[in-house]
């Protein structure tokens, strides 16, 4: 490992073919074992003022050894040429050929392997009359494999002035072909933005379009050499986000750079005017990762604004698919009471009270459970298979009732039945309760931030936010019931109501399908089958006890059979509804297709530290918005192609069942429900949280902005 710094090779006087007349020249070669360095010249019209004259150092590297470009990258040094020329001669800077990226572990260098010629143009002074030109060169280069050796050599060359020197024309032609080209159509600029240099280049050669390009800044200490720029093509324009170096030492207003691609002989020379403000040197260009993880994406919002957002979000809940079945119940209520304004308004108020109180009660329960140390979030009630099964049973019964299979009057104890008949307001209030039970997991847009804030507030304020949410949800009905014109617009009661009632049974059954599917996600196909069996037994019992068409004896017979059947089914079904019983069944996260992996915070940290972006889909089977996004945007071919192109690690955090880790992560993102879509960028200021109603455009834009 001793340095072979000065390996002076003998100056070999050798024949150099010069045309047309042979002339004596000298050439110098230094061979260090790692590099064979040779001083070459190219004088196609002799040495005379105004005529082209090139000299250059040719470096032939031993296999796997390399020397460096003008910006060597993370380590290394550029080759230095120090010329000694007769008075009046001047030498240009090296016309550096297009470099290659040379990775060294986690580091990135820019330089050359194989054989490369570093050409320099010489200018001949006007009065030059001599017969020969004496050229002397001292060169220093650093040659590295895994070991680095600084080497140097002294070279001299005597050129005939009156003869052409073209023996190395091919080498110089090759060097010219490798040198970055200035392309007239190219328009390039750069902007400093958010810890990165946003480079925009238009007018690149057609053969380059769509290729993965390499960005070589000529100035060291600006950008992160090892990072791959996040780039995309838009027609003939190349847009890239090149992260700034954490050890940045320069803030240029003009940056020269070379753009190339793996198959190109020569790159394209860029002169980038830099706009935007450089971060102050000494202030970190990129925030620490840990900062990023805990930065809530939604800006903290004030209490009054949260209340308002909750109100609006609640109103929007009515547009969510999960509320449709309950919507149909309400429309029926309107139809039957349309011409009795007072009872209509009273019903509207009762419904409102039911909705608001259930929201507050549910939130209170949630707060109490959280205070008791449970890691729960909004929608928690649907994480319990028991609740899902009970809701499925309830909707089945409502559906059967609407379809006319049975009458409540036949089943309910007479006192309760008459109480219900005498108090339609109770009925309205109960409809409100039902609406909340079903609607609560649909975290509408606007609600995400509102709910996230709610759980960080004192209990009274949190409950107020949920109250506002309920009020918002009930508001359209309240307004409708208080607005006579709307009531008058409905047709008079008649036979159509019977048909309408039957038709409304079907949205109820559709809801049951949804609930069974959720249960299937939670406890597997056995549990779903058990629930369906229990529902069949329940339907049979409802008919046996409630059908107005059955006589007393038939009812007794069928009733007994139904009770036995129902008890037996429940006995068999209930154990398989416990999520623990089948907890080992692979959930959707583990078996999901399309490269999705189960989420864990460790996996996020690991991928990010390896320099890979991470997209996390916080989802749940019972979340309708989540399922919609999953089947549209997250299944979009272009979105998937972009994920692939950026090598994004796709993680899915499935909250269908209770999961304390996911609840905690949602809290750190300032959220309390799903869906949440988070994009983690290595070295960026934080995970970027995308909107709940996800569009392919938004995802692709976010991906394009990746470094």
């Amino acid at each position: 490992m001793r340095p072979s710094i000065t390996h002076f090779a003998a100056l070999l006087a050798a024949l150099c073919i010069t045309l047309p007349a042979p002339a004596a020249t000298e050439r110098a070669v230094v061979d260090t074992g790692q590099v064979r360095a040779e001083l070459l010249a190219h004088a196609p019209e002799g040495v005379a003022p105004g005529k082209p004259l090139w000299v250059g150092l040719q470096l032939a590297h031993a296999p796997h050894w390399h020397t460096y470009w003008k910006n060597p990258g993370d380590s290394g040094l550029p080759t230095l040429l120090d010329w000694k020329l007769p008075a009046g001669f001047s030498a240009s800077d090296i016309a550096w050929p297009t470099p290659s990226r040379l990775p060294v572990g986690p580091l990135m260098n820019f330089g050359y392997e194989g054989t490369v010629l570093l050409p320099v143009a010489l200018t001949v002074p006007a009065g030059f009359r001599a017969d020969t030109l004496d050229i002397q060169l001292q060169a220093d280069w650093l040659v590295c494999k895994d070991v680095c050796i600084p080497e140097s050599g002294n070279f001299s060359l005597k050129l005939p002035a009156r003869a052409v020197t073209v023996a190395h024309a091919a080498a110089f032609d090759n060097a010219r072909a490798m040198s970055p080209q200035t392309v007239a159509t190219v328009r390039a600029s750069a902007e400093v933005s958010d810890g990165a240099l946003i480079v925009r280049v238009a007018g690149l050669p057609a053969a380059w379009h769509g290729r993965e390009l390499q960005f070589f800044p000529e100035l060291a200490g600006v950008t992160d050499n090892a990072a791959k720029p996040a780039a995309r093509w838009e027609g003939a324009a190349w847009d890239a986000r090149v992260p700034l170096s954490p050890q940045r030492s320069e803030s240029p207003q003009q940056l020269a750079a070379v753009l190339s691609h793996a198959g190109a002989t020569a790159g394209v020379q860029l002169a980038l005017p830099v706009s935007g403000a450089w971060p102050a040197l000494g202030s970190p260009a990129t925030a620490a990762l840990a900062d990023a993880v805990v930065t809530p994406a939604a800006p903290p919002i004030g209490f009054a604004l949260a209340l308002l957002l909750a109100l609006v979000g609640g109103a929007l809940l009515n547009l969510m698919p999960c509320v449709f079945p309950v919507l149909s119940l309400k429309v029926m209520g309107f139809a039957s009471q349309a011409h009795d304004r007072r009872s209509l308004l009273a019903g509207g108020l009762a419904y409102t009270a039911g909705v608001v109180l259930s929201f507050v009660a549910l939130a209170g329960l949630l707060l109490a459970l959280r205070a008791g140390g449970e890691q729960l979030g909004w929608g928690f009630q649907l994480q319990s298979p028991g609740v899902i099964a009970a809701l499925a049973a309830l909707f089945t019964l409502i559906g059967l009732n609407l379809a006319g299979v049975f009458e409540f009057g036949s089943i309910l104890p007479s006192a309760l039945a008459s109480a219900r008949a005498r108090h339609p307001l109770v009925d309205s209030a109960l409809t409100g309760v039902l609406a909340v039970a079903v609607a609560s997991p649909c975290t509408a847009p606007f609600m995400g931030a509102s709910l996230g804030l709610a759980f960080t507030l004192p209990a009274a304020q949190a409950l107020a936010i949920f109250g506002a949410l309920g009020l918002g949800m009930a508001l359209p009905y309240l307004a409708a019931s208080a607005w006579p014109a709307l009531a008058r617009a409905l047709p008079r009661p008649g036979l159509w109501m019977a048909h309408f009632k039957t038709v409304m049974a079907f949205p109820m059954f559709a809801t049951v399908v949804w609930l069974v599917w959720i249960l299937g996600q939670q406890v597997g196909i056995d549990g779903a089958a058990a629930l369906l069996a229990a529902l069949v037994a329940l339907a049979f019992a409802a008919w046996a006890f409630g059908s107005p068409l059955l006589g007393r004896r038939a009812r007794a017979g069928f009733g007994t059979a139904a009770l036995v059947l129902l008890s037996a089914t429940l006995l068999w079904a209930v154990p398989s509804l416990r999520s623990e019983a089948v907890a080992s069944t692979a959930g959707p996260a583990q078996v999901a297709p399309g490269g999705w992996q189960a989420w864990s915070s460790e996996r996020v940290a690991e991928a990010v530290s390896q320099g890979r972006p991470v997209f996390v889909d916080f989802t749940a089977a019972w979340c309708v918005t989540c399922q919609l996004n999953k089947r549209t945007t997250l299944a979009d071919a272009q979105v998937l192609a972009d994920f692939e192109a950026r090598q994004v690690v796709l993680l899915r955090a499935d909250w269908t069942r209770r999961d304390a880790a996911i609840s905690a992560e949602l809290a750190r993102l300032g959220r309390n429900g799903v869906p949440v879509y988070a994009l983690y960028t290595p070295g960026a200021a934080g995970p970027r949280v995308l909107s709940e109603i996800l569009s392919p455009r938004e995802v692709r834009d976010a991906l394009a902005a990746l470094p």
Binding site: S75, G105, P106, L142, C148, G221, S609
Partner: protein, 204 residues
Amino acid sequence: MNPFVATTLAAALCLTGGAALANAAVGQMAPPLSATDTSGKTVSLADYKGKHVVLEWVNPGCPYVRKHYDSANMQGTQKGAVDKGVVWLAINSTAADAYDYRKPAELAQWMKEKQAAPTATLMDADGKIGRAYGARTTPQMVLIDPQGKIVYTGAIDSKPSARTGDIASATNYVKQALGESLAGKPVSVAATQPYGCSVKYSSM
């Protein structure tokens, strides 16, 4: 979250994470640092709270390191700093399977022969510290102020060459930054590009 905890966590993530270099940059809190020195004793950055600390990435196999040791430039800078109460930690992040890895005793012997004067010479064969600080070359220098903040990172001096003769005319950035920081002044040149050999990181 306060910046110290944030940086600590960031460093911890990077330490567990693998290949990527960290973002330790001027103006940030220095990542925590704990390693055994050449005699097997554990040394932590936390032990030196309230003091200036210089980190020097060293590898005797690197000609650029030898440029500054053969000329006694590095030892002189070390002595000057340590005499002023500054802590100097020389760190070797060379992987154990690299051709120029030196065992702790060999490294200690080399430092002794060179009459080097660091407070401690630390072994970082798995490269965790080097990666956490984004060390790219040997030599590479980091200066941490008494508050634990990085105030300088980069080269030892202003002449990136292997020639000993360049040292005399070069600006010693570490001496300059240390002088300014000890005088309570802001560091005028806080970030430069380090030059030298690549740190031979383990592949982990």
